[in-house]
Symmetry: C2
Subunit: 127 residues, 2 copies
């Protein structure tokens, strides 16, 4: 699948200060909300964790489908939403599509949510 097929939402996540640093502007809030919405579903969270926890590698869609009581088109739809959010990428090889996690977006979201950096900066500024 080409990059052009999908708008990758998570690409600009690096731009955002952490949630406890400053009020978000509307544009950044809209970008981040799309990524969090992609995470706001238990099937997608389970798929993402199956992909992200695969050490050094990829997961075939054929390995993921049996873990769910859902059709393969439904699983593929959930995987497409994770891909649109910039959380995973994939490649078709022969019959199957293989997925891998994109840790940068996960780490950007983690940095956005963490209050620890802001707390440390505040302590530093007032010390």
């Amino acid at each position: 699948m080409s990059k052009q097929e999908l708008e990758v939402i998570g690409q600009d996540a690096a731009c955002c200060p952490e949630v406890s640093a400053a009020p978000l502007d509307e544009r950044r809030a809209a970008e981040l909300a799309k990524v969090f919405k992609a995470l706001g579903d238990p099937v997608r969270l389970r798929l993402l964790s199956m992909i992200a926890s695969r050490r050094g590698g990829e997961v075939c869609v054929c390995e993921m489908t049996p873990a769910f009581d859902l059709s393969q088109p439904t699983i593929s739809h959930h995987l497409k939403l994770l891909r649109q959010a910039g959380l995973v990428d994939c490649e078709r090889r022969g019959t199957w599509v293989y997925y891998w996690a994109l840790p940068d977006v996960l780490d950007q979201l983690a940095a956005f949510l963490s209050t620890r950096q802001t707390a440390a900066a505040t302590v530093g500024a007032t010390a």
Copy 2:
């Protein structure tokens, strides 16, 4: 508002290994998905950042409403969803309700999403 009024979703978030450590089980995926769903809306993300970035303090609902082109009941509904997710808490004093952030749940979500700890552990294990 009493604790009993609302089911606080985020309380068990500490239980979960990070997304890149192991596949999530169904129960944990359902719990976390509810919190991410609460974050999956631009108005709620902006409200949360307004509350979380207020240094050492609380934000009156009366200060937040003017930043949005939405009615106060709509803003209050979004704030209730943030509170149900365990991301903020509030107290009514006289006419107004005052909100503050609960950094523990934000930090638990950050730890869940971060791939850095897992990567460090993997390097440590294979060194």
